[in-house]
């Protein structure tokens, strides 16, 4: 079991690391948001899964209620993260576009066409 948890953690770390690198590698806001949102959410899912698995396993082994609570609360936090993260990304992307930050190297921008900015 601990191997599985360790695997979860390692995967989570890898993807989180990817998100951090993506922030530096990409040229403009939208592409950075791609990297940041996807990679960090995915990575956080895995790290949280590690914690959840840890909690449930310990609960199964020791029978102490607190490990169950740990897993439950981690699930709640994970759900909150899953709901808020893409929405936040959407809000930022929309705000960026409205505030006049245009995507770099874009081949097409339908939104700007609609707003007459292209």
């Amino acid at each position: 079991m601990s191997g599985l948890i360790a695997l979860f953690l390692v995967i989570g770390i890898a993807f989180n690391c990817l998100g951090a690198i993506a922030l530096y590698r990409f040229p403009d806001v939208y592409t950075r948001l791609h990297g940041a949102t996807k990679a960090t959410t995915f990575g956080s899912i895995f790290t949280s899964l590690g914690v959840i698995a840890y909690g449930f396993t310990k609960w199964a082994y020791t029978g102490e209620a607190r490990f169950c609570v740990l897993a439950i609360h981690a699930i709640v936090a994970l759900i909150a993260l899953l709901l808020t993260n893409p929405t936040g990304a959407h809000a930022i992307a929309k705000a960026a576009h409205r505030s006049g930050v245009m995507p770099k190297r874009a081949v097409v921008d339908r939104l700007a066409e609609r707003e007459g900015k292209w």
Binding site: R32, Y54, L78, A95, A96
Partner: protein, 88 residues
Amino acid sequence: MMDMSGWFMATGVLLVIFGFLAIGRTALGPTVPDRVVGLDTLNTYIVAAMIVFGAAYDSVIYVDIAIVYALLSFIATLFIARYLERGL
């Protein structure tokens, strides 16, 4: 039996280091939305780190903070986004 706290701790530390990288984007970001992206990424990292540290410290109740945090940082992001899109 299984003592994973070292693993969790290491994961948390790495997450905080990524958070440091994310705030670098806040520092560099040529435009304001870039900085907000940095902030948002930092939020995610810190929430993940809080969950992981809760397991590392073996303290159940600490995970509550991560929930509060996930919800409220979202609100802060929304505020900044609404300000930027000139809707406020």
